[in-house]
């Protein structure tokens, strides 16, 4: 009976085996050979990997796409507020209630305000996507509120914002889109941009595409922001500048992207908490360590993993808080 040892096994036989060209006797031999040493498995595995990879190059992208396409469920993140007009007040509340059940993370009320029903959409612990009737889309950050009429007026589209939101506005030169955000009015023709209007914080607008005009109500001053520009509105003045990575960090709640250049860990954690709604705390000298790091599309666990790979920190969870502890900066 033939017996193969590691250095005696020949590649021809292994190749024939993987291509299904071997007979029963040879199969038995190979089976025994594989059991002799894990390294044998690895050797066979290498040839098998090449064959598998070559087979993968035969993938037909179109056929694969057609097969994959069938798995795409309608995207659940976008909530359409198009509700058929209820016939009586009882029906109206029934409709509102069914929307509440579907969404579960926000509350929506229908008010009658000067003839036009006003929809108030509030987000709580999660972001909320809103599709407006004109095709515009708004993403509300956590704990924010957007009020808008069920039917826009004839000459303008006006909404009211409290908190943070990202707007993607359908162009309509005849009907400017106006966002009333407390001290700030933002007028747009058709663009995508961020507005931050939280109580106790300096309002900020950051434009992604297009152009927006901002009115700072306390002073009556107006400014126009173009793509790539951002402005803050506080202390009775407007400060305008070109968007930097640092500015984009304020909108990480939407982008899931944080960029830091030689930044203190305490500051980094503060921005992470702001973006993710997390409660991370730091104990020990490690809070003063300076880091240069990017977080790209990570969740909190991913971010903590990255921090642990850079610094010597221990982490522990207590209720809903995460505590990072460390002393040195290496």
């Amino acid at each position: 009976m033939k017996q193969f040892y590691n250095h005696n096994m020949n590649e021809e036989l292994l190749t024939r085996y993987l291509l299904g060209e071997t007979d029963e006797e040879e199969n038995t031999l190979i089976g025994e050979w594989l059991l002799q040493d894990p390294a044998n498995n690895r050797q066979l595995g290498q040839i098998r990997t090449v064959l598998d990879m070559v087979e993968l190059t035969r993938i037909d992208e179109t056929a694969s796409w057609n097969n994959f396409k069938t798995k795409l469920q309608p995207q659940t993140k976008h909530v359409t507020m198009d509700v058929a007009k209820p016939k009586s007040s009882i029906l109206r509340w029934a409709v509102a209630a069914s929307i509440l059940i579907l969404i579960g993370i926000s509350s929506i009320y229908f008010y009658n305000v000067s003839g036009s029903k006003l929809v108030i959409a509030q987000s709580s612990d999660e972001q909320l996507d809103i599709n407006l009737k004109d095709g515009s889309q708004v993403t509300l950050n956590r704990n924010s509120e957007l009020s808008y009429p069920k039917r826009f007026a004839r000459n303008e589209r006006k909404v009211f914002l409290k908190g943070d939101a990202f707007f993607s506005i359908e162009p309509n030169p005849e009907k400017p889109f106006i966002i009333d955000a407390g001290d700030l009015n933002v007028t747009v023709l058709g663009t995508s941009f961020y507005v931050s209007a939280r109580e106790g914080e300096t309002p900020q607008v950051l434009v992604e595409t297009g152009t927006v005009e901002c009115l700072y109500k306390p002073t009556g001053e107006k400014t126009i922001l173009k793509a790539g520009e951002t402005a803050t509105f506080g202390n009775n003045q407007i400060e305008k500048k070109t968007v930097t990575n640092q500015d984009m960090n304020a909108f990480a709640w939407k982008t899931y992207r944080l960029v830091f250049q030689d930044e203190k860990l305490s500051e980094i954690v503060k921005l992470v908490n702001k973006a993710y709604g997390s409660k991370i705390e730091i104990e020990g000298d490690v809070r003063d360590c300076h880091l240069t790091v990017n977080f790209e599309q990570l969740n909190i666990d991913g971010i903590i993993n990255v921090l642990q790979s850079i610094l010597d920190i221990d982490f522990s969870k207590s209720k809903d808080k995460i505590i990072l502890k460390g002393e040195g900066c290496q």
Binding site: T15, W65, S192, E208, T209, E296
Partner: protein, 197 residues
């Protein structure tokens, strides 16, 4: 298709965008994933899961290079998780090695698809002919021998040589460390299993 902007970062994912993204990257990602996960069907499942996840999130990074980096990172992470959860061997040394070594942060994101195809093209003529009849026409050794008018022994020698050459080239592209990683379901190949492709 999608609005891009020098300063901005994300674009909406609709079906049209998804189609382009999928058709562009699916194959390359599968071959890349096969370095970690030793089963072609599982590999395709994993890569599809990454795309499904993007669809559910509804948005993707706007810059092309960021998208590619994101996709490859996501696939790699899912593969490593899968291996960790499915380990049949007791020693975790090699997985740990992959995850902690410098290599893991410099994983080549080059499209292995094209590299493999050109490596096949560069095979010596007779060798390439035999290989292509076997792998792309699904012919058995005897059938290849009959088609080309050569002996089965010759077919066998050429196939073995082709695989050796390709293996060496791929090891160069992917890094030897990754190529060593081989795990099989059930701990070893069952004797009568119809393996290979």
């Amino acid at each position: 298709m999608a609005t891009e902007n020098p300063t901005s970062l994300t674009q909406k994912v609709d079906e049209q965008y998804m189609e382009v993204l999928f058709k562009t990257y699916f194959k390359g990602l599968c071959i890349f994933a096969r370095q970690f996960v030793p089963d072609n069907d599982k590999v395709q499942d994993i890569v599809q899961d990454v795309f499904l996840n993007i669809w559910e999130k509804g948005e993707m990074l706007a810059s092309e290079s960021q998208v590619k980096g994101y996709l490859y990172t996501a696939v790699r992470n899912r593969c490593l998780n899968y291996i960790r959860d499915n380990k049949k061997f007791s020693d975790n040394v090699e997985v740990a090695h992959i995850e902690n070594s410098d290599n893991s942060s410099r994983i080549e994101y080059r499209e292995l698809d094209k590299l493999i195809r050109s490596a096949i093209n560069e095979l010596p003529e007779k060798c390439k002919e035999v290989f292509e009849l076997s792998r792309f026409q699904d012919l058995k050794y005897q059938q290849i021998a009959d088609t080309l008018g050569i002996s089965v022994k010759t077919v066998e020698a050429q196939m073995t040589k082709a695989l050796k050459v390709l293996r060496e080239k791929l090891a160069g592209y992917t890094g030897m460390a990754l190529f060593i990683l081989q795990y099989f379901f059930g701990g070893h190949i069952r004797v009568n299993e119809k393996s290979g492709v």
